[in-house]
């Protein structure tokens, strides 16, 4: 069991994606009189091959006449034909399977199974990871980051109408354990903090349309990333120039310049928060704190040529594993 769970986790990590699944009518599950029908895979997706298998402890299925109909058309009959395969349709389009089992010397048993594939994506975002204004990329989580997961169910009825996601009941799981306190009607998002001991987390959710019937579930695995400092120039006219990093060094030809250190993915989002400390050195000499803390304004006293090396260390007094270091070389021309 333990190895199975590990293997499942590895599979999820390998694909690294939110898994889309299905919606299915409750009639498929469990015993139907003396019969039960297993659905494989358990969470069929749209346009996916599905296997149905009849099981019974009371009926001798091996000698029974079994027929399968797909959307009203008989497609498979025979003695002992306990397995039936078909392909699901698009999301929201139901497939109806009629099953008739005629045991020897007994009355026939008929059942109807309806499968309506749906999907559910789980989006996630690091809600307290720093990125600069106008940044078009994703804020990534670092150790102990706060993450928000948002369920995006794609459940349609038979007429193709998308079901209202606000009218659903959400059941969230964290590392496969149900989090009852954060589950419930309309709770389409889920927030938690990455533990200091883990760099991977798996979150899942099931969305059930209020009133029953259609449902969908999904699962996603996240990991933590390393924060980093990227250097830019800033000026009263332009402000920080986030499209032009000077990480590779900068040729200084003017008397004054200001460098801007952007701690990508640092936490908290406010990079000037009091729990972040900035330690600057210029050519290995420490100097007083800057205001604002992430901008270093420099004045050139002489026109001597050479290199000036700036070092910066950013630490979070509340998150001990978060430390950012970077250096920048200025070439005085």
């Amino acid at each position: 069991m333990k190895y199975g769970a590990v293997a499942l986790l590895l599979l999820v990590l390998f694909f690294g994606v939110a898994k889309t699944t299905y919606a299915i009518t409750p009639s498929v599950y469990g015993s139907m009189n003396d019969l039960s029908v297993g659905v494989y895979p358990e969470n069929p997706q749209a346009n996916q091959e599905v296997t149905l298998k009849i099981q019974s402890f009371l009926i001798n299925l091996a000698s029974a006449d079994i027929s399968w109909s797909l959307d009203g058309k008989k497609v498979q009959t025979g003695v002992g034909m306990i397995v039936f395969k078909f392909t699901t349709k698009d999301i929201g389009q139901s497939t109806t399977i009629d099953l008739t089992v005629l045991p020897v010397g007994s009355s026939p048993i008929t059942k109807t199974i309806t499968i309506t594939p749906s999907s559910l994506d789980i989006l996630w975002e690091a809600i307290d990871s720093a990125t600069p204004p106008f940044y078009k990329g994703k804020a990534l989580p670092t150790t102990e980051a706060n993450l928000k997961f948002v369920a995006m169910p794609n459940i349609k009825n038979n007429s193709g109408a998308l079901m209202n996601k606000a009218d659903m009941i959400y059941n969230w799981t964290n590392n496969y354990a149900v989090d009852q306190n954060n589950s419930g009607y309309g709770k389409d998002s889920y927030i938690f903090q990455m533990p200091i001991t883990d760099d991977h987390e798996t979150v899942g959710v099931t969305a059930l349309l209020r009133g029953g019937g259609l449902s969908a579930e999904g699962q996603v695995s996240t990991k933590v990333f390393d924060p980093k400092i990227v250097w830019y120039l800033t000026s009263p006219l332009y402000g920080p120039q986030f499209e032009h990093s000077i990480d590779q060094g900068f040729d200084v030809t003017s008397n004054d310049l200001s460098v801007f250190a952007e701690p990508y993915y640092a936490s908290p989002k406010d990079i000037l928060a009091s729990n972040l400390s900035y330690t600057w050195t210029l050519n290995n000499q420490t100097f007083d704190a800057q205001t604002p803390a992430n901008i270093l304004s420099l004045h050139r006293d002489s026109m001597n040529k050479g290199d000036a090396i700036i070092n910066l260390v950013i630490e979070n007094s509340q998150k001990y594993l978060q430390e950012l270091k970077s250096s920048l070389t200025l070439h005085l021309q």
């Binding site: 994606v17 989006l123 975002e125 809600i127 078009k136 928000k148 995006m152 996601k165 389409d188 402000g239």
Partner: protein
């Protein structure tokens, strides 16, 4: 010093001045002449307001139309370069503008003579369009927010507004360039301000005054903004408790309405005639999703689970250009309405591409190489890596791309590509230095294509052209 020597010196000084003036006005001001490079080098020394093609403090182009061409036949003999730098100014946003026609207090009347009649025609001066009959590119300058117009060949640059907005970092144009949305970061380096303004031409173009910008601020910290396809409204994402609201507003500040609400914050919007899409912000190795935002606000998935996903939907909404990234590799695809995806024969980021109006052609700026050991699109968004691009035309049905221009092997990293209405010109910004550029896409064009007849400096045209 004798009087004779003084006279000689005086004559010499006057001669030098005359020759200097001649050189300045008749050589340097000739955009087709050999003095063009000299102008560029001078501009770079004086990047603000000393463009010799315009008069400072005046929105009327003062260049003498006779200086457009030095040849008597009205045609230039210099080689025609389809690629031109429109301005040396750093820009933060650009559009193809149709400026409000300037109606003269006493409209210029001219006559068209035929064998039997004389028909009076009223001519309007629609800024520099009248001079060139070329599309007008309107752009906003980085740092100052000054708005300029320039023709698609970069011959006439005219300052339109004098309202200074320092630190301005983004500009969006609507209403054919007659509305503008400025975005900048306040001095705290975190709060985003957004200002919506209408560009109001001066009542009298002979007054020498600039157009003014009249408008108001929108709520702080709008995270993303997109113009509607008709340019008369725009959508934006505004933070609310527990998530974001997607709102729309007309460019005149009226008709505010909700497009959607979401518990998820990190959306990027794209709005074409075929619909509004919301794509999750991208990072290398992180699965992304794109949804079609339905009129009622529901999100209908188009594609998902694509690492590093960025997108660009076609104007009619039938095709989606998207990419997937894997470290320092980018794969670019077109997904059609039937669900089929085809891989392009070139690799680029969708935001470096622009669709033709009919959605059947795609122009893409394609990096000549992708620096190794990088993460896309993250490192590009962070300004850590820059590209040197070529322009390719992509067959939307097959994904096969054909190179249109190598951009003269210049160090150009294309962003904000747009096409003029006839799809003759590709206009874009070079992210490496933020300058605006134009590529003439017309096949077999020659220098005569942009020649302006000396005898007719203001071609006749209809209102609104």
């Amino acid at each position: 010093m004798s009087t004779k020597i003084k006279k000689l010196l005086l004559i010499l000084v006057i001669g030098v001045i005359v020759v200097g003036c001649y050189w300045f006005f008749f050589v340097m001001n000739n955009p087709n002449g050999g003095g063009n490079n000299t102008i560029n080098s001078l501009k770079s020394l004086f990047p603000y307001g000393l463009n010799s093609n315009s008069t400072t403090g005046n929105n009327i182009v003062t260049t003498n139309s006779n200086s457009v061409s030095t040849s008597g036949s009205g045609t230039s003999t210099t080689p025609y370069d389809s690629l031109v730098q429109l301005s040396q100014r750093p820009v933060i946003g650009l559009t193809i503008a149709t400026p409000v026609p300037y109606t003269l207090a006493s409209p210029v009347s001219s006559t068209t003579t035929s064998a039997t009649s004389v028909t009076p025609v009223v001519a309007y001066r629609s800024s520099i369009f009248d001079k060139t009959n070329l599309p007008v590119v309107r752009f906003a300058e980085h740092g100052t927010g000054y708005i300029y117009d320039v023709d698609a060949r970069g011959q006439y640059e005219t300052k339109q507004t004098g309202t200074t907005i320092v630190r301005v970092a983004q500009a969006y144009f609507g209403d054919n360039g007659n509305s503008v949305i400025f975005r900048y970061v306040k001095n705290d380096n975190s709060t985003i301000e957004t200002y919506l303004g209408k560009i109001v031409p001066p009542a009298d173009i002979n007054s020498g005054q600039f157009a003014t910008i009249s408008g108001s601020f929108l709520p702080e910290n709008i995270s993303d903004l997109v113009m509607a396809p008709d340019g008369k409204s725009f959508g934006y994402i505004f933070p609310v408790i527990g998530g974001v609201s997607g709102l729309a507003l007309n460019t005149d500040g009226t008709n505010k309405r909700q497009l959607f609400s979401s518990s998820f914050d990190e959306w990027l919007l794209d709005w074409k005639s075929g619909g509004l899409t919301a794509t999750t912000k991208a990072a290398d190795g992180v699965p992304g999703f794109v949804y079609l935002v339905q009129p009622a606000g529901a999100f209908q998935k188009i594609i998902g689970n694509v690492d590093g996903l960025t997108t660009n939907i076609s104007p009619d909404g039938s095709s989606l250009l998207y990419d997937s990234s894997d470290g320092d590799k980018i794969n670019t695809f077109i997904r059609h309405a039937n669900g089929d995806s085809i891989k392009l024969t070139v690799s680029t980021l969708p935001e470096k591409c622009v669709w033709g109006k009919s959605s059947n052609v795609l122009y893409c700026a394609v990096p000549t190489f992708l620096p190794a050991s990088t993460s896309y699109p993250d490192d590009w968004y962070q300004g850590v890596v820059h590209f040197q691009d070529q322009i390719w035309r992509v067959n939307v049905n097959t994904g096969v791309a054909v190179m249109v221009s190598d951009l003269d092997s210049k160090n150009i990293d294309v962003v904000n590509p747009i096409l003029d209405s006839k799809e003759n010109f590709l206009i874009f910004r070079n992210q490496n230095d933020d300058t605006p550029w134009s590529l003439d896409l017309r096949p077999n064009v020659s220098s005569s294509a942009t020649t302006v007849p000396i005898s007719s400096p203001f071609p006749l045209l209809n209102v609104g052209q």
